[in-house]
Symmetry: C2
Subunit: 516 residues, 2 copies
């Protein structure tokens, strides 16, 4: 059984050892690193074809920047700006000069310094699902997002050590008023978790409120916040080739203050991007580079992540597909491009299934294969995504935690020292013997292998006697157990007081405009 | 919907195009090749540690060969044989000299020459599940293997182009008498399929009957059969470090006639092998090398495949686990070893789930990740395996066909020619436009992307209206449809007559001893 009945006090474990938290056995908190070679889908020449085509898109076609302030800044920095259409064209030297200013690696600070993250290089970080309008679980069914589900996902994200940060609101709490929703949500992030979180770029007030709440949570000055990236925002291009006002405002507010921008075009081949994989990735790359250049125009050296999110649609129905063979190749090519530019790489754990079944798992595994072997540093939607992002599933969250933990285990080195090669044990056991009872086995038996969270390895008869529960049913029980066991991380009462006062003041002021 | 209501005549497709068979859309028959770099889990030095440790196992500990005839042949070839214990020790030069005689690549001939397979090098071949004692589907439940299920799996294996060959009996038809079961089963292989099949090594009579039936099916002489490998057998070591009588007889009968031996120790870390991954793989390697050396002692140049099947047990219950992170690493290390010896590499698509759920899919995907990126040439249990091999599932078969087809799609190159880079299409659509209507899209829309067999990409509401069927339920409908649409491949009446006469004669003689 994966859920233990008795509760034991949390104890610190080392990276080799699974820890027993409050009832559910899981891996300890760890800053993961890639240890396996990345898969290069394209040759160097083929990659250069994509790169050069993207530069031509930026030079010859250009990107619409819908915010006048952004166009002004870009024009000052040397871009060719058409004020009538909003079109901005970049010559290749401007693109490459600005790309070179972005850091290859940086630290993203949490309110608990033990949760600080390195982004870039060989580092590997896992986010929760983000921005789903619906939530579901097996007993409650599918429902519009609400504050209770939002908070419950925050608790799961805090509880599981394999989750490094929140990718946004795991589910949108639509029962909260739009103007002040971000204040409630950001406040919940600080109170229910000590991990890094995200502020949406939906009008500059929301970015500024997010920055102030982050500053309060960390108990630091504005100056230190500007020296230490502590908050991130996802910036999506409006594909094809358009950057809208709130996104550009978000870049200005965040990059100017040295906070993290994750620049991710969402390029669906055959719909918002060319139907050919090379064409879709070329457009993705052009859009990403345009946005990344803009971050460096706003502030040279501002931390920015290259996001790849190219998939395809079902050409019969127009439905978006995720975790397809095309998706995998696009993700791995995106990783090659990010490494070519020496930028951190964001990818995602996605699927299009409508329930937590074999399709959900197999498409997620495909997406993970694309992301992990593509060298992602920043995995969005790591746990909980279902229905192409339209639903955050509690059971899927648990399944994904298991998959992510297995990625961590896969990255562990294989020791080949004499003791691990075990010749003495083989000599002792000899032909026809058994290893269960040997000292070599007994010394290692408690932590030799990964203990899965949700997989059930019992034989068919025993499994039937125990109720023949499938993965989703077992995941349901685990998530319920975790919500019972969850404990809020410590928070300085002075910080909490300052946070509450700020939220109250901003609510009194009416929050942020919500006419988007 | 993946199952079309109307039936159309089968037509030949090229490798770029999905073909519509008799109702179920699938990929065309293709001889697949790896196009992506393999993942090397160990450094060259670490791999050498495993290799050298294996040689020490063979020199210092040795392997028990239980068949006197095998010991005699090994002694003549220079091995150190202890007749009392049956222990055989090999010095490293004998091992390396004999390994060098085995071919790196060979052709495995089918009765239909279009189904001939290349084994080794960059070639990639997919087998069905094999040797399950039980079969299951959603409506019929789980039952002991029987002839009807056996035949139905043969039909699925013939129908799906992505299946290259049969790994053995997909399910054991225990309703057939043991002494003549192999005659009925081998006869069914020839009549229901034109693909390569397998003969069990359970007493030399079964090997000899398999060889004769293969010869009859191909309509060739004994001499041509010996020149053209056309039948294969799986040889499992009795881990630890034991080769039993029927397996050694199988090697003698098959290798002496230039037929294919797939040498696969089944080394469960913590049970029949050391608990450390390096130790378990070292033992696997020693056992595999011992068997492979013996094939070359029997006949220099006989075709042989290096099989890796190291997994771990759940140390709490002793249950075997499959598709774990440890399994993946063992598979990829096994691939490195096979390449070091320039031998074809066999791996497997396995899981320990008791139903076709998220666990079944995610463990299978892990196993496939180990196998495919480990460079397998020969994927056993490619479609249908469930419950750690104790059950062949019809729904899992369909799910796996989808996964294997996706592997094939992943291997397709990504074109980066000017037309694929699609700059003209981007120019035409421009910022804010849509690609659905462009000529670039319309020219490619019918076969731009992989069309999944079982995945359902419709939105939640449409999916609910259609009955909210999960993957297993949809797979059930597909497998039923395929059984309706199945057509037996042509068989020369003279061949059929000769086959029937041989089977009748051998049945009259009593078949083969079944006192094993």
């Amino acid at each position: 059984m994966t859920v233990a009945g008795n509760r034991r006090p949390r104890r610190r474990g080392n990276a080799r050892e699974a820890v027993t938290g409050c009832g559910v056995k899981q891996l300890p908190w760890q800053n993961l690193e890639h240890t396996r070679p990345f898969i290069e889908v394209l040759s160097a020449d083929e990659l250069e074809n994509i790169h050069l085509a993207s530069l031509r898109v930026l030079e010859e076609i250009g990107v619409n920047f819908l915010l006048p302030e952004a166009r002004r800044l870009l024009k000052e920095a040397g871009a060719d700006v058409d004020e009538g259409s909003g079109r901005v064209r970049f010559d290749r030297s401007m693109v490459m000069d600005h790309l070179a200013k972005a850091p290859a690696e940086f630290t993203l600070h949490a309110r608990n310094p033990e949760r600080n993250l390195r982004i870039g290089g060989n580092h590997l970080n896992f986010c929760t699902v983000a921005s789903a309008p619906n939530a579901s679980d097996l007993t409650g069914g599918r429902r519009r997002g609400n504050q209770e589900d939002f908070r419950n996902f925050l608790k799961l994200g805090q509880y599981f050590n394999i989750i490094h940060l929140y990718g946004g609101y795991p589910v949108e709490p639509v029962d909260l008023p739009p103007s002040t929703r971000h204040l409630d949500c950001l406040s919940d992030f600080v109170k229910l978790s000590d991990k890094v979180f995200h502020a949406y770029s939906l009008g500059r007030e929301r970015n500024l409120d997010g920055l102030e709440i982050t500053r309060i949570a960390r108990g630091i000055s504005v100056e230190i916040l500007q020296a230490e990236p502590s908050l991130f925002t996802i910036i999506n291009a409006n594909s094809p080739l358009t950057m809208d006002e709130p996104m550009l405002q978000g870049i200005i507010e965040m990059s100017s203050r040295n906070q993290v921008v994750v620049l991710t075009p969402f390029t669906l081949a055959g719909a918002m991007a060319p139907i050919t994989l090379a064409g879709a990735v070329t457009q993705q790359n052009a859009e990403a580079l345009a946005g990344i250049v803009f971050t460096q125009v706003v502030r040279a050296g501002a931390p920015v992540v290259y996001g790849g999110f190219t998939s395809n649609v079902d050409m019969k129905t127009g439905s978006p597909a995720f975790g397809t063979p095309e998706y995998v190749k696009a993700a791995q090519i995106s990783g090659q491009l990010a490494r070519r530019y020496q930028l951190p790489f964001r990818s995602s754990n996605v699927n299009a299934s409508n329930c937590v079944d074999a399709q959900a798992a197999s498409e997620s595994q495909m997406a993970l294969f694309g992301a992990i072997m593509g060298g992602t540093n920043f995995l969005m939607h790591g746990a909980g995504w279902l229905e192409g992002g339209l639903c955050a599933s509690f059971e899927k969250f648990i399944l994904d935690v298991d998959l992510l933990q297995q990625v961590a285990e896969y990255m562990k080195p294989v020791a080949t020292d004499p003791d691990s090669l075990a010749l003495d044990a083989m000599r002792e056991v000899g032909p026809g013997g058994h290893y269960f009872g040997t000292a070599h086995t007994q010394e290692r038996y408690s932590d030799a292998f990964y203990a899965p969270l949700v997989a059930d390895w019992r034989n068919f008869e025993t499994w039937c006697e125990a109720g023949a529960k499938d993965t989703a049913q077992r995941a349901h029980e685990i998530y319920r157990q975790v919500l019972e066991d969850y404990q809020a991380p410590p928070l300085d009462p002075a910080v909490e007081e300052e946070l509450d006062a700020f939220v109250a003041k901003r609510k009194e002021e009416g929050g942020a405009p919500s006419n988007f």
